[in-house]
C-alpha cells in the first residue's frame, strides 16, 4: 500500500511535470522566436576581445541573465540517463532556451540604449540548487550573456 502511494505520487508528479513543462517550453519558444525576429537587425558578434575596435562614439556593457528551472519529468529522465549514459536530450532544450533568452535580454537592453551592434559577446552558465548544492531538489540553471554595445 505504501509502495502504491509512492508510485502514484511519482506518476502524478511525472505527468504534471511533463505537461506543464511542455506547455511552458512551447510558450517560451514562441516568445523567443518572435523577439529574435524583431531584433535581428542588430548584429551580435563575439569578436573584439583583443582586436582594436571600430570607430565608435560610445560603448557600454550590457548583460542579460535568465534562470530556468527543470521540471520533474526532465529531472527523472536525466536521472535515468545518468545510469544509462548518453546524450541528455531533455536538457538540451532547457539550455538552448536559456542561452537564447539571455542573449535576447542583453540585446533588447542594448537596443533600448541605442546600440547598433554588440561586440565581444560572451556566455556563461551557473547551476543553482539541485546537483550543485547539497540538497537534492530540482536544480535551476542560470545563463548570463554579456557584451559591449556600441553606437
Amino acid at each position: 500500500m505504501d509502495a502504491l502511494v509512492q508510485i502514484l505520487f511519482f506518476v502524478v508528479l511525472l505527468i504534471l511535470g511533463y505537461f506543464w513543462g511542455r506547455y511552458f517550453e512551447k510558450r517560451h519558444y514562441k516568445s523567443i522566436l518572435r523577439r529574435e525576429k524583431k531584433t535581428l537587425n542588430i548584429p551580435i558578434v563575439n569578436f573584439g576581445a583583443k582586436q582594436s575596435l571600430i570607430d565608435v562614439q560610445e560603448a557600454a556593457l550590457f548583460a542579460g541573465s535568465v534562470v530556468i528551472s527543470i521540471d520533474y519529468f526532465k529531472m527523472i529522465s536525466a536521472a535515468f540517463r545518468n545510469l544509462v549514459g548518453g546524450r541528455v536530450t531533455v536538457y538540451e532544450s532547457l539550455l538552448d532556451r536559456g542561452r537564447r533568452e539571455a542573449l535576447l535580454r542583453m540585446k533588447e537592453d542594448a537596443i533600448k540604449w541605442g546600440a547598433n551592434q554588440i561586440l565581444n559577446v560572451r556566455l556563461e552558465t551557473a547551476t543553482i540548487g539541485g546537483s550543485s548544492g547539497n540538497n537534492s531538489g530540482p536544480g535551476s540553471i542560470e545563463v548570463i550573456a554579456y557584451g559591449t554595445g556600441v553606437k
Binding site: Q6, I7, Y18, L40, L83, T89, E92, L95, G130
Partner: protein
C-alpha cells in the same frame, strides 16, 4: 562590411527526439537491468549463503534473533512441549544442521517464524488460537521446512544483495530527488514472487511431515481454513500470515497434494494438552 540580417536556423542544439520516447527507453532499460542484476546477484547470494558453516550461521542467528526476544517467556513447560512436537516431525534419520531452539514470545499477534540459526519463534497468540495438535504441527512443520531449505539464510542473502545494489544505485542518484524509490520497488516485487515458491515448498514439506507423524493429514488444515475465512477470534493476524499465500489456494494445493499422494484426510484429531494457552500449562482464568 555590411551586415545583412539572416533568419536564424532552428534545431541545431536541440535533438528532435520526443521526450516521452526517450523516457520510455530509459525506464525500460533501467528496470530491465535492475531486475537482471537483482536476479543474478540473488542467485549468487543464495549459492554462497547455503555454504555458510553452521558455526557462522549460529553467530549470525544469535545476532539477528536478539531484538525479537524482547518479550521472551523462559522457563515454561510449553517450550518443552513445542520442542518435542517439532522434533517429532523429523522423520527418523533426518537431522537438522543446527539444533533448533524454540523461543516463546509473549505477543498477541498470531505468528510463528524461524530465523537464521534455527531459532523458532512462537507467539503466545498462536497457542491460544490453534485448536488441535495437528494444526500446530503443520505450522511448526512449515517452519521446519523453511529451515531445512535454508530459506532464512537465503532471504538474508537476498536482502544483503538488495541493500548493496540499492545503496550503490542510491549513491549514483543522490542528486535525483524522488527517483530511487522505483528501483528498490522492482526488486521487492521479484522478491515477493520468489518467496511464494519457498512458501509452497515449505507447506508441502510441513504437510508431508505431519502426515508421516500422525499417519494422516486430517484436521491439520483447520487452522489455515479458519484464518482464510477470517474466523479467528483474534483479529490481529500478523503481516506474516497475510503476506503468506494462505488463501484458499494454499489449502487447495495441500488438499491436492494429499489426493495425489493418497494421504488420508479424515481421521481422528490429536488434542492439544490442556491449558496450552496458560503459563506453564497450569490452569488459568483466561477464557479462550
Amino acid at each position: 562590411m555590411k551586415y545583412i540580417p539572416k533568419k536564424i536556423p532552428e534545431g541545431i542544439n536541440v535533438t528532435s527526439r520526443h521526450p516521452l520516447l526517450n523516457f520510455a527507453y530509459l525506464l525500460g532499460t533501467v528496470v530491465a537491468v535492475s531486475i537482471f542484476i537483482f536476479v543474478v546477484l540473488g542467485f549468487v547470494a543464495e549459492w554462497l549463503v547455503i555454504r555458510v558453516s553452521p558455526e557462522t550461521e549460529t553467530q549470525i542467528g544469535d545476532m539477528l534473533v536478539q531484538p525479537a526476544l524482547d518479550k521472551e517467556i523462559t522457563d515454561d513447560k510449553r517450550i518443552q512441549y513445542i520442542e518435542e512436537l517439532l522434533n517429532s516431525l523429523l522423520i527418523p534419520g533426518e537431522t537438522t544442521r543446527l539444533p533448533l531452539q524454540v523461543h516463546l514470545i509473549n505477543n498477541d499477534v498470531i505468528n510463528a517464524a524461524i530465523t537464521v540459526g534455527g531459532h523458532v519463534l512462537v507467539h503466545t497468540a498462536l497457542l491460544e488460537t490453534v485448536k488441535s495438535e495437528n494444526e500446530l504441527a503443520l505450522v511448526l512443520g512449515h517452519e521446519l521446512g523453511h529451515f531445512q531449505a535454508h530459506d532464512p539464510l537465503k532471504s538474508l542473502g537476498r536482502s544483503l544483495v538488495f541493500l548493496t545494489v540499492s545503496s550503490i544505485l542510491g549513491v549514483g542518484m543522490s542528486q535525483s530527488g524522488g527517483l530511487p524509490k522505483i528501483i528498490p520497488l522492482t526488486s521487492e516485487l521479484t522478491n515477493l514472487n520468489y518467496s511464494r515458491i519457498q512458501e509452497r515448498a515449505a507447506d508441502i514439506y510441513g504437510f508431508n511431515r505431519v502426515v508421516k507423524h500422525y499417519g494422516h493429514g486430517g484436521h491439520s488444515l483447520d487452522f489455515f481454513e479458519r484464518l482464510a475465512k477470517g474466523e479467528s477470534k483474534l483479529q490481529k493476524v500478523s503481516q506474516y500470515f497475510l503476506t503468506h499465500p494462505l488463501s484458499q489456494d494454499r489449502i487447495n494445493d495441500l488438499n491436492a497434494e494429499a489426493a495425489k499422494q493418497g494421504w488420508k484426510m479424515e481421521e481422528e484429531v490429536t488434542p492439544l494438552p490442556q491449558w496450552l494457552h496458560c503459563s506453564n500449562m497450569k490452569p488459568c482464568e483466561q477464557a479462550e
